[in-house]
Assembly symmetry: C2
Homo-oligomer: 234 residues x 2
DNA sequence: CAATAGTCTAAACGTTTGTTCAGCTAGTGA
DNA sequence: TCACTAGCTGAACAAACGTTTAGACTATTG
């Protein structure tokens, strides 16, 4: 039951990140990413990936040495795709929201994959997050210089918290979908009008905060005064 | 390996939510909660729980019918503990931050448990989240009436987003710990001065937002004008 | 052509999983 | 004292897991 399309690798024109892609190794990797995104890492077995890719379980080991190796390869591939997508988005100048750059049509599965693996501690995923935070800090700095973003005494901390909040919403997409009726892991969420039920409150908070100006100043002074007590929220 | 105290859950004298607790069934449940919080749900096996509780694997089935039943019982127990803790905190009037009410000393393991199970779709956990959002909406409404919190056209959406962001930071505690040096699942995080590295930027965003006032108004108008295009971030 | 290396399959391996089962112990009531 | 029930154990169970292995097929090279 081989696909006998040995000669034409470049069948998928806009898919391969590199020229020698879409081999059996690439098909196994893509099937694994799909399984990881859909069922989670723990519930993805070697036989499921093999069936989905149309190969035997032994072929996975032959190409990736072990299931852990397959997992690492998937993480690295997703990281590479994200990095390329960000570079393309950077030249186009989309904006500050790091997730907006990932909502492109052809990489909609990236959101689902990240939602499943962000909670686990993988070195490759940690690199992705670190990159996203660094990029967010850069974007925010550009926004500050353009007069669009407020200055802060802790740019890195602000970028880290904002990015983690954004990614956390991705991880908890089921709860958001249940409460607001929009699934952030849905590939077509960018073109859906229902995204406003999430983006509306989100940008409202990012725009003007939650607290009134007087109370916000009170909290800020409480933080600068004594850092030992973290609850000045009466 | 573990801390000096034999068991963080077992030693709390006022733990039992009901009078007929602390039976073998309760010890199994507490050991399972500890295993779930420490190693995650997928990596928690029946034999690990049995060894941790000092019983045989068969005893787990005898009390909970199956591992899934144990999982449900743990979810429901944690939900009950959170609900009781919130009621106690409500009379004391701690504040808006829903997580602050959960950082009490004797229930520090709740944060670790939630961090592990929030990403999975469990009905009991969904009820916890829904309750947290409803409580947050109530607290925010009280803040609005007290002049501490801004008014909003979408109170429920704002409460949902703020709660999910807060819980998302809990789920991604490893990334926050790596970047900011503070672990939100650490039971003693409330008394640690390092919490400011997270709470500082967090309250800065919740206080005044990220964008400048002019740009925030521009975003808001872009949202009210056309809901089809979600990226007005230039 | 023969030899070699790479690719992939089907079957099987050993381990670990959740669960079952027969039997032991302790407490209770008649 | 006997019978009974609940609690619990330790061994064993089938199923599923990741991985190994022997061999077949294909393409390349001499």
């Amino acid at each position: 039951m081989s696909s006998r399309s040995r000669g034409s690798i470049e069948l998928s024109a806009d898919d391969g990140l590199f020229s020698d892609d879409r081999t059996t190794r690439a098909r196994i990797r893509d099937a694994a990413i799909e399984c990881f995104a859909e069922h989670g890492v723990a519930r993805t077995t070697a036989r499921k990936v093999a069936d989905s890719a149309g190969v035997s379980p032994g072929s996975i080991i032959h190409h990736f040495e072990s299931m852990e190796g397959l997992r690492v390869a998937c993480d690295q591939h997703v990281a590479a795709v994200i990095r390329r997508q960000k570079q393309e988005a950077m030249s186009a100048g989309t904006g500050i929201d790091v997730l907006a750059a990932l909502r492109e049509a052809n990489i909609g599965w990236v959101a689902g994959y990240l939602a499943q693996v962000l909670a686990e501690d993988s070195p490759a995923v940690a690199l992705i997050v670190d990159d996203l935070v660094a990029d967010a800090e850069g974007y925010l700095q550009q926004g500050v210089e353009a007069g669009l973003v407020r200055r802060t005494a802790n740019p890195r901390g602000r970028a880290a918290v904002a990015t983690v909040w954004s990614l956390g919403a991705l991880v908890l997409h089921r709860h958001l979908d249940r409460m607001l009726g929009v699934d952030l892991t849905d590939p077509g969420v960018g073109t859906d009008t229902a995204i406003a039920s999430y983006a509306g409150p989100a940008f409202e908070i990012l725009g003007g905060g939650i607290f009134t100006r007087d109370y916000a100043a009170h909290i800020q002074s409480a933080f600068t005064a004594s850092q030992t007590t973290n609850e000045g929220t009466t």
